[in-house]
């Protein structure tokens, strides 16, 4: 690891953030510098999603991937977004809008300090990690090296390595990191995932801050980071946390759209879900669940759902080119044969039991699912019932989705052993969803109780 490699990653991730903030400017405008700072995390993930989608499609159509491709794609997205924002007359940032209360200011500052310290310690761990995770060194990083050294989807590597149907957003992101570092440095590569972890926390904080008081938000964010399974996987060069991140931010954006009807949130959802389907196969299932929940939620509120249908169309358009690429090489999709696959009723019951056991395993996820379940029930009776309905339905669908995966693959043993069943990795999506929505649900209960007291 050298300072040059770290500097390269700082520049790459800075460019990703600039790209995403430009997209936010085009979609909603950025009125103040406070907005820019607050939405920097979400902006980074939008930038990562947009660039990841673009790079994936460019690889599929055989555009050579290298330093110039990275720079020109960043320039194209950022300049295009700024142009669109200007044409639409979006407000540009000027001035600051700081919290107006003493308690809010001090609680927020203490939270930033505590979370910041944790992230600094995580940086220390990231800069010295060797490549140990099996999936990372067995196929994710070799695929990234193939893109880095050969400039594209090398037929031999991508058709013979494990998981040939896995979409290439993660390897292409790793390859971009190699270009930024100046070499295939698989030690410093872990720092790329530190940037994603920082963005995840910042995006949750920035998205939730206007809706959740700081005293509720800070402990929730700290809890997310110290959940055993997440803290162990945050820095691994794997697609699991990345796909969960895109999915949960998309779900949060959708829930807030259901609440306030602001169209830019659906556009953000589209980019994030497009990135999710380009990251992992499970992304398709998770994206379908978000779209379905948004459709039902929108119809129940009497809201036009044409935007949701456009989101669906965009996500499908993003997913199809990669599907065509690997199917054209006669590679197996690894999907079950039909919805039922090889399952039976008894197997379905066992699969559902396994999903619930994994979800409520406090050795993996600490108290997050339990606190979420309590928050959900309390919010149904004493808080925002619509939000609780949407969240509960989506969380239940995600858990059922996990059970379906075990159920449909008849040859898959019904066990939490990660070597033979992906249920633990998959359940991460449900748990991160729970982490993100718990403060929102509890804030709705707190607000309702204050209004009731008046």
């Amino acid at each position: 690891m050298t300072l040059r490699a770290i500097g390269g990653l700082v520049v790459l991730n800075g460019l990703v953030a600039v790209c995403g903030l430009a997209l936010l400017y085009a979609l909603r405008g950025l009125r103040t510098w406070t907005d820019v700072v607050r939405l920097a995390g979400l902006g980074y993930l939008l930038g990562l999603g947009a660039l990841g989608i673009l790079w994936t499609e460019l690889l599929v159509v055989r555009v050579p991937f290298g330093g110039w491709t990275i720079l020109s794609s960043v320039a194209a997205i950022a300049a295009g977004a700024v142009l669109v924002g200007s044409r639409r007359g979006m407000p540009r940032p000027h001035g600051w809008m700081l919290p107006g209360t003493v308690a809010g200011t001090l609680t927020g500052a203490a939270g930033i300090a505590a979370i910041g310290l944790y992230l600094e310690a995580l940086f220390g761990a990231a800069r010295l990690q060797s490549l140990q995770n099996f999936d990372a060194w067995a196929f994710w990083v070799p695929k990234a090296k193939a893109i880095y050294f050969f400039g594209g989807l090398d037929e031999q590597v991508f058709t013979t390595a494990a998981g040939p149907s896995y979409p290439p957003l993660l390897p292409v992101l790793d390859a971009a990191a190699f270009h930024a570092m100046g070499g295939a440095d698989v030690v410093t590569l872990h720092l790329q995932f530190w940037f994603v972890a920082v963005a995840l926390v910042a995006a949750l904080a920035g998205s939730l801050a206007p809706h959740v008081p700081a005293w509720l938000l800070v402990p929730s964010l700290l809890l997310v980071m110290v959940v055993p399974r997440f803290s162990a996987g945050l820095l691994a060069p794997l697609a699991d946390v990345l796909v969960d991140t895109f999915f949960v931010l998309a779900a949060l954006s959708t829930a807030l759209w259901l609440r306030d009807g602001r169209g830019w949130r659906l556009a953000a959802t589209a980019v994030l879900l497009g990135a999710a389907v380009s990251t992992k196969r499970e992304g398709l299932l998770l994206a379908a669940l978000v779209v379905f929940s948004a459709l039902v939620g929108g119809l129940l509120r009497g809201r036009s759902v044409s935007g949701v249908i456009k989101v669906f169309g965009f996500v499908m358009a993003v997913a199809i080119p990669w599907q065509l690429w690997y199917r054209s090489r006669e590679l197996a999709s690894d999907a079950p044969d039909g919805v039922v696959g090889g399952g039976s009723f008894d197997r379905g019951v066992d699969a559902l039991r396994l999903s619930l056991e994994v979800l409520f395993d406090d050795g993996l996820w600490s108290v997050v699912p339990t606190v979420f379940a309590i928050a959900l029930v309390v919010a149904l009776f004493r808080g925002d019932r619509r939000l609780a309905g949407f969240t509960g339905a989506l969380a239940a669908l995600v858990v059922l989705g996990g059970a379906w995966i075990t159920f449909a693959f008849a040859e898959m043993p019904i066990t939490a052993d990660e070597a033979v069943n992906p249920i633990v990795r998959y359940t991460g999506a449900a748990v991160l969803l729970a982490s993100a929505f718990t403060p929102l649900l509890l804030a709705s209960v707190w607000r309702a109780s204050r209004e009731h007291a008046r």
Partner: protein, 123 residues
Amino acid sequence: MTLQRARRLAVALVTIPLLLYPASELADGAKLDSPDGCVLIADPASTSELDLVFGRRDDVREAEALLEQVKGVGYVDAELALDGCGRWRVFYDGITSYVQGESSRAEARGADLEAELEVEPSS
């Protein structure tokens, strides 16, 4: 407390710990820059597999030139591979013991090669 004072206190609350922590780590000997992070020099007590390493290069062409030089000296089975830190490593893996490795290292150094006995990365 006035809002103005609270904001000043907030700035201190954020900046002091966030600066103090990395400063204390650096004072404690932590290094941000570790270009030799993938080098593990062998010692006589080492029981791992050993390699005779002739050098590392950032550029593959420079590494190939070094490989040719090494082969020219007589290490015809020398190889070239990426190390975990993204650098090209030129090495000979036919070392069976530390004693044999020491002797090979001395021989290589006698031929003006910057050889070093290292623990094989995968062991």
